[in-house]
């Protein structure tokens, strides 16, 4: 890679605030990260952590009337927040594509599958008619769709959930984007289908040397398919590391608690789960200090009063966490 040194996407101090009746809701509140070409970044968080809002902010599809966005989103050297809307439309679908959570609602119910694929081809590649159709069939074949030719004239309701998600992926891959944002792409699917779809995304990504942001609430999903992981809590990234380092060596109590609270197949039956008490904070009135403080076992006064910055824990600075009292790392002398 010529520019392997430069990240493809660099997000700096990004904040997205929704205007609600109750006040300003800080869905994304000061988030920074970067994604390199061909890499996969996982973003993990519970519902309400701001991960979907973050994805929609990056491709700028949130309503301008109801949101305020600040910060910088540098994609291939351009700040997406200052790019004009027509230019942004050229980027969406061609350079950055997105796969949504529920394929039942993310495909237009009154349009044939083929039309929905072909309109991206027409929009960005100028392909129309027979050429577009041939390409659409190729795309459907590449996402493992049985009988692709017949699918072109079917409507979404005639397909199963897994197949609909394959169509959504075909649409996303149509212009061979440089970055794919997959927002909980398998949450609405059964486990066996989830495995198929994750595997498909992984293979297509490798084939196109595409960068990917894989958003999920499930640490297990993220563990298997990402290079780096960012953990989000209450609109902020609280820990960020290479996937291996995060799962082997997590420092933020929230990440640790999240890992412990999910039941594990390898544990014997009736193993007591280590639940996190309480609930995520109200994002209209977030706690002034660390946002996890009200639920954290190790919280002290400093946690209540001062917000911890995202700081590096290892020598090369790739493992970073925001915590005053990090979990002891087995390798480090804390």
């Amino acid at each position: 890679m010529m520019d392997a040194g430069l990240p493809l996407l660099e997000v700096t101090d990004l904040a997205t605030h929704f205007h609600t009746q109750r006040g300003l809701l800080r869905a994304v509140d000061g988030v920074s990260f970067s994604v390199r070409r061909g890499q996969t970044l996982g973003i993990v968080g519970e519902s309400g952590s701001g991960k979907s809002a973050l994805a929609r902010t990056i491709i700028r599809i949130l309503s301008k009337r109801h949101t305020t966005t600040t910060g910088r989103i540098t994609f291939e050297g351009r700040d997406l927040l200052t790019v004009s809307e027509p230019d942004m439309r050229d980027i969406r679908g061609r350079d950055i594509a997105m796969v949504f959570q529920d394929p039942t609602s993310s495909l237009n119910p009154v349009k044939q599958v083929g039309v929905q694929i072909e309109e991206v081809l027409a929009r960005h590649l100028g392909l129309r008619g027979r050429a577009a159709q041939t390409r659409a069939i190729e795309l459907l074949t590449s996402v493992g769709m049985p009988l692709p030719q017949e699918r072109l004239h079917q409507y979404p309701h005639q397909l199963s959930g897994g197949m609909r998600q394959r169509v959504a992926i075909a649409i996303a891959l149509a212009c061979e984007p440089k970055l794919l944002i997959a927002d909980e792409p398998t949450t609405a699917l059964d486990v066996t289908i989830q495995a198929q779809i994750l595997d498909l995304l992984h293979r297509r990504q490798k084939a196109h040397h595409m960068a990917m942001i894989l958003i999920s609430h499930d640490l297990g999903v993220v563990a298997g398919y990402t290079d780096t992981v960012a953990v989000m809590y209450a609109g902020q990234i609280v820990e960020q590391a290479s996937t291996r380092s995060l799962f082997r060596n997590c420092r933020m109590p929230y990440t640790a608690a999240l890992m412990r609270s999910a039941p594990n197949l390898s544990d014997p039956p009736h193993t007591r789960l280590r639940a996190i008490t309480g609930r995520p904070p109200d994002m209209v009135l977030p706690p002034p200090g660390c946002r996890f403080e009200p639920r954290c076992d190790d919280a002290t006064d400093i946690c209540r009063n001062r917000r911890p910055a995202l700081s590096a824990s290892d020598a090369d600075g790739t493992h970073r966490y925001a915590c005053w009292h990090p979990v002891a790392s087995p390798g480090a002398s804390a």
């Binding site: 066996t192 989830q194 563990a223 609270s261």
Partner: protein, 333 residues
């Protein structure tokens, strides 16, 4: 029937009539027993019929075939009054805690409803029981009794729903995906809490979920369903150590594990999609996606048999047991 057998589901079938004379067989010939004091997990993907079973047990509507025997009595044969009495000993908890509480009623009325329906106790007695139930689920009765469900979070609503299920001190509680709508952190709270309640009230649970990890955690025994039929039933630990049915194995392999180093080979992936329940495959219903399927599987429906004590499977070619002994398809129990 032994006294330990609290609920016996025998050859249960649920069939829906569809327009133009078609039939949807949602559940076909399912048999299992729930012993007093245990937790039986029922696991399967969407559309496998697990929720239909829970409703058939509750007689909502009664199953189209087979019998549901609770505390030694066939529920389908009970008259209205007797069935209503039986329902005080048999309760249900639902997936979506918010949807399972009427938004227009106060918590005190919601929790008292089973008592009111069964006509148990006088007003004073009911109030006392409601308070006790709310306290037991960790809610302060004075704080919550006069509020309505929308003022609570999902996890709290689930506690209220559990208080309602426990207020008549039932024997058996059917939990239909009780934690699927909750976030990971809240899910653990509710799962722990169900274990506590089970101990406190000496409950027996039938726990239905699509999530194997959750089911394994809470259950003593686990039954696996696919497309309206049981595939396998075994003690929880045993099932996970040595699954016999290829579907069970595939289901386990598909669960994402929190380990970045675990190898994910595509060979573990189950190919294809769930066939339509309106037109299920002949013979073994899993054969269209089964890596071990042979023409024999298409022609013959596998028998439900016990391969070792307490381990049942319905498969012509079960997987090799870890001891190294192959269970040949010809050997009958």
């Amino acid at each position: 029937m032994s006294p330990a057998e609290l609920l016996v589901v025998d050859d249960l079938s649920v069939t829906y009539a569809l327009p133009r004379g078609r039939q949807l067989i949602a559940v076909a010939n399912v048999s299992f027993t729930v012993h007093k004091g245990e937790t039986l997990g029922l696991v399967g993907e969407s559309g496998c019929g697990k929720s239909t079973i829970s409703r058939a047990i509750m007689q909502l509507p009664p199953p189209t075939g087979g019998a549901v025997v609770f505390e030694g009595r066939n529920l389908a044969h009970l008259d209205t009054a007797a069935l209503r009495r039986a329902r005080t000993r048999l309760h249900m908890i639902f997936q979506d805690p918010i949807s399972s509480l009427n938004p227009h009623r106060k918590v005190r009325d919601i929790v008292a409803e089973p008592l009111a329906i069964a006509g148990m106790g006088d007003a004073e007695d009911r109030k006392r029981r409601v308070r006790a139930a709310l306290e037991n689920v960790g809610l302060d009765p004075d704080q919550v009794m006069d509020r309505r469900p929308h003022e609570f979070s999902g996890g709290q609503c689930q506690r209220i729903a559990i208080a309602r299920a426990l207020v008549t001190e039932p024997q058996l509680v059917i939990c239909d995906e009780p934690v699927s709508a909750l976030d990971v952190s809240v899910r653990a709270q509710i799962l722990n809490f169900l274990e506590d309640m089970k101990a406190h009230y000496h409950l027996t649970l039938l726990f239905i979920s699509h999530d194997l990890a959750v089911v394994k955690n809470i259950s003593d025994r686990v039954a696996v369903m696919y497309l309206g039929r049981l595939c396998e039933l075994a003690p929880s630990a045993r099932l996970y150590e040595a699954p016999l049915h290829p579907y069970t194995a595939a289901l386990m392999a598909a669960i994402p594990v929190m380990d970045p180093d675990r190898c994910r080979s595509p060979s573990h992936l189950l190919a294809g999609e769930l066939p339509s329940p309106m037109n299920p495959p002949s013979g073994c219903r899993f054969r269209t996606r089964c890596p071990r399927a042979t023409p024999h599987c298409a022609a013959h429906e596998p028998e439900w048999r016990e391969t070792e004590a307490g381990h049942f499977v319905a498969c012509h070619f079960p997987l090799v047991a870890p001891q190294g002994a192959t269970i040949s398809p010809a050997r009958q129990p």
